[in-house]
Symmetry: C2
DNA sequence: GATAGAAAATGAGTAGACTCACTTTTGACT
DNA sequence: AGTCAAAAGTGAGTCTACTCATTTTCTATC
């Protein structure tokens, strides 16, 4: 690097901070690239460290476990995807149809790589280390908020937050039995639709 | 061992098989003991092999992963617990109360060791290796069957298998947010009760 | 610009799950 | 009893996530 210059003074407010951010970005980029090219299992933490041009130990200053790296890599993208899905104007009339549309698009996101999806979903609900907890909570909150908003907008359901919670649980199980149980996606989604319709029915204002 | 004798002939139908079963039993006993005394994380596969008096390699002939051992150890007990719970005569009138009673007793089973419970629940839904799949499926089937039977017995719900599936998903999420999310158990169970009540409402015969 | 102390980085080292080339045991057949 | 192939068993060795004692880099203060 070029030495001296005005940099030294100008950087005073936070050279360390900037370095950390830049390093973090390199780690995430390297991890993403390797995970997508070789898969999670066949990528070693050494490879990631090497690709990010840092020492092995440094990697674990930024991610407490290998699984944390997965969350670091996909959190932003998933968060954005979820927000985009819920920001879109509704295309169907019924609330159950709208929920299904959202869940279908969320499932689409996981369609290319079932193994990766399984790992991500596992981390989302039963995290391997609690280091990334706040990241995960933010994502879960975005999902719950999106669902709650959608349900509340319909106006005919009694307690939107509760129904949002239930709906996500049903979606999660549908997704898992598709990705892991070897069940057909269509079958899982049809079942989910039925479950959601009944869920909504049980939560009408006028029960 | 005593050589010769009539054993050699009498054992013909299955000495190998008996040896395997006996060895398997030793492994399960050793694993149970160590997991309960030291916890899953602090128990090494070496220790288990040693305690079961077999070689390291042999252990992995019986369990493909360390997590498989967990399933081997607790499957029978959980299966029996679940069957016992659902075999008992109902104590409450409403179906939602009866479901809650069953889930509460299932949760009780996990109350002493939250870490172990989290691991077991994780394996149950997102298995680490698919080697124990049939074991897990049997347990899941027992749960679904028990729930379906209970719901069907009530007679006022439209499609018992579907509702059983939904109910378990809700129970699972309640349990996880109790065990992992640090949420208060009472709070989780109260929420679950409300979710179940609404679930039942939405699935009445006369909707 | 020298100094000190804090923060960050490092990579050789550790530990433990899992493998595999080889040995031993088993049981059917003669 | 002897032979053989297949099944089961073995533990030294591998691979890799993660640690920790040490070194390097930064920044605040004089």
């Amino acid at each position: 690097m070029t030495p001296g210059k005005t940099e030294e003074k100008a950087a005073t407010p936070g050279r360390r901070e900037r370095n950390k951010l830049e390093k973090r970005a390199r780690i995430v980029a390297a991890a993403r690239d390797l995970f997508q090219r070789q898969g999670f299992a066949d990528t070693t933490t050494q490879q990631i460290a090497e690709a990010a041009d840092i020492g092995t130990g440094t990697l674990f200053l930024y991610a407490h476990t290998k699984e944390d790296l997965l969350v670091m890599v996909f959190r932003d993208e998933m968060l954005e995807t979820v927000r985009r899905i819920f920001a879109e104007p509704p295309v169907t009339a019924g609330i159950d149809g709208r929920l299904m549309a959202a869940f279908t698009r969320m499932a689409d996101y996981h369609a290319d790589d079932a193994d990766l999806a399984r790992l991500l979903l596992k981390e989302l609900v039963v995290p391997h280390s609690d280091a990334r907890r706040s990241d995960i909570d933010e994502l879960m909150d975005a999902i719950y908020d999106g669902l709650t908003g959608m349900i509340a907008a319909d106006g005919r359901v009694r307690s939107p937050p509760l129904v949002a919670r239930s709906a996500f649980a049903l979606y999660y199980f549908a997704l898992i039995s598709w990705l892991g149980g070897g069940q057909d996606r269509g079958w899982c989604m049809r079942l989910l639709r039925e479950q959601l319709t009944n869920l909504i029915d049980g939560n009408r204002q006028d029960a």
